[in-house]
C-alpha cells in the first residue's frame, strides 16, 4: 500500500491503440492518401453514365409485368433442380466437412493432420464456386451433378473452417472432464465436443443451405444445372419479363429460407 500523494491529475486520456506516434500517423495519412489516389485512377466517363440512365430505366420497365405463363414448366423444373442441388450439396459437403473440421482443429489433432486439413480448407476456399463449377462441367459434363460437386467443395471450405474454429474455442474443462473418465477419442468427441458445437453447426448448416441455393443459380450460368441456365437464356433472348419472374421466385425462396433458419436456430439453442 503506497502513501497517498498530495495531489492527483484530474485529466485522463485513453491510451492510443498504436503507441508509436510516427506509426499511428503514418498509417492514418497513408490510408487517406491511398483512398484519394485510388479514386483518382478510377476513370469514370460521366457523360456515358448520364446517357445510360434512361436506358437502365427502359430495361427495368421491360421487366414488368413479370411473365410466368410462357415458360412456367421450365422455371419450375429449374427451381426444383436448384433446390435439389443445394440440399444434396449441403448434406454432402457437411458430411465431408466433419472429418476435415475435426482434423483442422488445433486442440484436437496432431500437427501434421492439422496442417493437412488446413490445406484442404484453404484450397477449397481459394476458388469461388463458379470457377470450381467451370472445371466440374469440364470433368463431368453439363448438368446438375457438376453443380453438386462445385457446391459441395465450396461447402467444405466454409463449414470445416468454422467447425474447426468453434472446436478451438470450446470450453476446455468440459472436454477434460470427459477425457478423465477413461473415454476413448471417439467417445470424447461425441460426449464433450459435439454437444458444445452442435447448436452453432445447425445454424451454419441452414445458412450454408441458403448460400448454396443462391450459388446454384450462379453455377447454372456456366452449365452446371439448375435455374441459372434459364436465367441466362431469358436474358440473352431479351425476355426480361421471364427473367423477372425467375428472379422473383429466387427472392421468395431465399427469404423463406431466411425465416425458417432463423426460427430453427432459435429453437436449437
Amino acid at each position: 500500500m503506497s502513501q497517498p500523494q498530495t495531489s492527483y491529475p484530474d485529466y485522463w486520456k485513453k491510451p492510443p491503440f498504436i503507441k508509436r506516434p510516427w506509426l499511428r500517423w503514418g498509417l492514418i495519412i497513408g490510408t487517406v492518401v491511398y483512398v484519394i489516389v485510388a479514386l483518382g485512377t478510377m476513370d469514370v466517363n460521366w457523360v456515358r453514365v448520364w446517357e445510360g440512365l434512361p436506358r437502365g430505366r427502359k430495361l427495368l420497365a421491360s421487366f414488368f409485368p413479370p411473365n410466368f405463363a410462357d415458360s412456367r414448366g421450365v422455371i419450375i423444373d429449374g427451381i426444383l433442380e436448384s433446390i435439389w442441388m443445394a440440399i444434396i450439396a449441403t448434406i454432402g459437403g457437411i458430411i465431408l466437412s466433419v472429418p476435415v473440421g475435426l482434423g483442422a482443429a488445433r486442440n484436437l489433432s496432431p500437427r501434421w493432420v492439422y496442417l493437412f486439413c488446413r490445406f484442404i480448407v484453404s484450397a477449397s476456399r481459394t476458388f469461388p464456386e463458379i470457377i470450381i463449377a467451370i472445371f466440374a462441367v469440364k470433368f463431368f459434363g453439363f448438368g446438375p451433378f457438376a453443380g453438386f460437386v462445385a457446391l459441395s467443395i465450396g461447402t467444405v471450405g466454409f463449414f470445416a473452417k468454422l467447425l474447426a474454429e468453434d472446436i478451438e474455442a470450446m470450453n476446455k474443462t468440459q472436454a477434460e472432464s470427459v477425457r478423465s473418465t477413461g473415454s476413448n477419442w471417439f467417445q470424447w468427441v461425441n460426449y464433450a465436443i459435439q454437444p458444445q458445437v452442435m447448436p452453432r453447426m445447425i445454424g451454419l448448416s441452414l445458412y450454408r443451405l441458403d448460400i448454396n441455393f443462391r450459388e446454384s443459380a450462379v453455377v447454372g450460368i456456366v452449365g452446371a444445372g439448375g435455374i441459372g441456365a434459364h436465367l441466362l437464356t431469358s436474358i440473352s433472348r431479351y425476355e426480361y419479363d421471364t427473367t423477372a419472374s425467375i428472379l422473383l421466385v429466387i427472392i421468395v425462396i431465399v427469404i423463406s429460407l431466411e425465416y425458417i433458419s432463423g426460427y430453427l436456430r432459435k429453437w436449437v439453442q
Binding site: 470450453n171 474443462t173 468440459q174 477434460e176 472432464s177 470427459v178 477425457r179 478423465s180 473418465t181 477413461g182 473415454s183 476413448n184 471417439f186 467417445q187 470424447w188 461425441n190 460426449y191 464433450a192 454437444p195 458444445q196 452442435m198 447448436p199
Partner: protein, 264 residues
C-alpha cells in the same frame, strides 16, 4: 494406494510447477492439498491421471505405474480415478443423466455410448447415485439448468459411477457459497467413507481443509512444505505455506460451525 516418486513437471514455457514431489496415500485416506494459487496443486492431481504429462518421476496406483502407460492402458487406469472439477465441468448441453453416465465411458464401447444404450446396471447405479445426492428428479434436466451446488453433486456422481479407487478433487468449492461448500465437502467425505475411497482434495479454504480431511499436505512453489494432521496447521506453518499474515482468525476452533451446518 497411490505413490508419487520424485514427480517433476516442467511446462513448455520453462516454468517448473512441481519439484520432485514424493507422496504416499494409503487406501481410504482423504488428504487435503493446500497452498497458494500457482503452487502446483492442480498440476499435481492432473499428473496423476495424466491430463498433464509429468516430465519426470513415477506414479504408482496400486501396482500400476501410470506415467509410462500406453493410451489403451491409460484409459483403463483412468477408470480407477474419478475426478471432480472446479466449476463442475459438466457438459452443459447434455442431460444430467448423460453427464453421470459419461463416467462409464471407459467401460462401454463407442456405439453403445453413441446410442446412449448403457448396460442396465449402469443406469440403475446412475439413478441410485443421483438419489443418494438428492437429484433423482433432475435426471432429464439439462445440466445448465442446475444450480452450482446441484451441478457439483452431479459431478460427484459422474466420478463415483466410474467405481474408482481414488478420487482426484480439484477445488470443489471454489465457486460455491460457504454453506453449499460445506455440504459438498461433507458429501465427498461421507462417500469416501462409505466406499473406502482415497482422495486428494485441492482446496483454497484452510478451514474446510481442516474440517474435512484426515491429513493435510501443504504445497508451496511446487514443493511439499507441510505433511501432517489437520490440527498441526499452526500460524507458523501457514506462514511457511502462504507467507506472512495474521492466521489466528483462520484456524479458530471449528466445532461450533460444523454443528450449525449439520443440523440443517
Amino acid at each position: 494406494m497411490l505413490r508419487l516418486e520424485n514427480v517433476l513437471k516442467r511446462y513448455k514455457t520453462g516454468d517448473v510447477a512441481l519439484k520432485n514431489v514424493s507422496l504416499e496415500i494409503p487406501d481410504g485416506q482423504v488428504i487435503a492439498l493446500i497452498g497458494p494459487s500457482g503452487a502446483g496443486k492442480s498440476t499435481l492431481i492432473r499428473c496423476v491421471n495424466r491430463l498433464v504429462e509429468p516430465t519426470e518421476g513415477k506414479i504408482y496406483l496400486g501396482d500400476t505405474e501410470l506415467t509410462t502407460l500406453p493410451p489403451r492402458e491409460l484409459r483403463k487406469a483412468r477408470r480407477r480415478m474419478g475426478m471432480i472439477f472446479q466449476e463442475y465441468a459438466l457438459v452443459e448441453r447434455l442431460t444430467v443423466m448423460e453427464n453421470v453416465l459419461s463416467g462409464r465411458l471407459g467401460y462401454v464401447g463407442f456405439w453403445q455410448s453413441f446410442f446412449r444404450k448403457f448396460p442396465k446396471k449402469d443406469v440403475q447405479e446412475a439413478y441410485r447415485l443421483l438419489d443418494r445426492v438428492g437429484l433423482m428428479h433432475m435426471a432429464d434436466k439439462r445440466a445448465d439448468e442446475l444450480s452450482g451446488g446441484q451441478r457439483q453433486r452431479v459431478g460427484i456422481c459422474r466420478a463415483l459411477i466410474q467405481d474408482p479407487d481414488l478420487l482426484l478433487v480439484d477445488e470443489p468449492t471454489a465457486s460455491l457459497d460457504p454453506k453449499t461448500s460445506r455440504q459438498i465437502m461433507r458429501l465427498i467425505n461421507e462417500l469416501c467413507d462409505e466406499r473406502g475411497l482415497a482422495a486428494i482434495i485441492n482446496i483454497h479454504d484452510v478451514l474446510l481443509a481442516q474440517m474435512y480431511s484426515q491429513r493435510v499436505v501443504g504445497l508451496k512453489e511446487g514443493e511439499i512444505v507441510y505433511d501432517g494432521p489437520p490440527d498441526g496447521l499452526k500460524p507458523d506453518v501457514l506462514t511457511e505455506i502462504y507467507g506472512e499474515e495474521d492466521w489466528e482468525a483462520t484456524i479458530e476452533d471449528v466445532d461450533e460451525d460444523e454443528e450449525e451446518a449439520s443440523s440443517k
